[in-house]
Symmetry: C2
Amino acid sequence: MSIAAFAEQAVTSADKTFLQLRVDIVEGAIPAGSKLSETELSTKYQVSRAVIREAINRLESCHLVERKANVGARIVSLTPEGLIQLYQVREALEGMAARLAAKNMSDEEIADLTALLDNHFQTVKDGESYYQEAGDLDFHYRIILGSKNQHLIEVLVNGIYHLIRMYRVQLGMAGPRVTTAFDEHKHVVQAIANRDEELAEMLMRRHILYSKNNIERKLLQS
Amino acid sequence: MSIAAFAEQAVTSADKTFLQLRVDIVEGAIPAGSKLSETELSTKYQVSRAVIREAINRLESCHLVERKANVGARIVSLTPEGLIQLYQVREALEGMAARLAAKNMSDEEIADLTALLDNHFQTVKDGESYYQEAGDLDFHYRIILGSKNQHLIEVLVNGIYHLIRMYRVQLGMAGPRVTTAFDEHKHVVQAIANRDEELAEMLMRRHILYSKNNIERKLLQS
DNA sequence: GTTAGAAATGATGTCGACAATATAGGGGTT
DNA sequence: AACCCCTATATTGTCGACATCATTTCTAAC
């Protein structure tokens, strides 16, 4: 499973606390906008304040919390504009990722990706749409990794994707569009298989743009 | 001066140490690839190890240093591939920034930007090419800010630009190309003034791509 | 009653010391 | 001589205590 490749292993205590806190924030166990008290968290997680501070610092570099000197840290507040801006960055970066993937992925990786899509197609056809989000993630992650660009990978995987997931969970949005998105995935993979960098980027950008428009529509409804 | 808007003010001791360390790293006072010993730095900068640790953590989130658990932190090592990859990310992000700037900049901001370019043109015509790098920075910063996209601004201003500067200084590259770059800037601004998002993005991407090609050529020479 | 200022409270920032881990060096064996 | 293991050393990770700052609350003056 290629997603398992991202399972960051926590060696130090601060690592564990950071990962735990990130889950709690992204999944909404700690509500958005709330204050992160160091003393409070240190008793809650049974670690020293230094560990909590380090964890909070890392959360800040993920843009999940904002910190003000001598005041403290708050979880970022979610706004529709914030999500739109996030998708704009995502469009630019994943578009470039698709372009680079078309250039840099090995034939074997492309074959794997194609197989993944076929597999995905079966589950969609069988109506098991609950696998859909994991499949979508796997698709995007493989292309991001396929870019072989460390900066791109870092920003997307460790930064933007957690934020997007936080928005998804907390704004109560369902997973991505199921049926139409699949065709878009297929076309992107075809472009990559054809080593057509230009088209791969264009299709990926359009795919994410559609996703953004879809989200905007849902946001306006509620 | 719009660049002054980025002068992050250090309130805490960790802030000052972070900013100082960042300068020392980017400007090469501490050589690339070298180890950052916490005890050593704490005596050198006359602050406690906790402060140093926090500063190093922030440097890590800027991708200026890499840290391994129970081992320590090292300044990132510079490779030609790394610089290329950095420019790929920059191309994607600043392209999007130009697109958004064409949409979101106010008429007044655009007028200021045009004035800046005219000013810049005078200095270039007078042969004062030593002002060129600051002018180039100002141009790019205004467009990035003009995007009004917080994520974009954060990643570019606090992340990528420091790394690029580090590469410039340490690989001994001169500032950006002087004469041809000016025309490219002019065309980007015209596209923004015309609110032509598509063209603004395309021209900005091309501008950065040229820059990248120029750098690649220089790297191969040496 | 309102406001300005000062004390009290609680938080974050900083520090030095201890614990746990990685690395280097020495001693012994094959 | 090469290799492994054990010890010594130095570095990082973690902790609790103190200093410093922001905020709240009380008091006093107008």
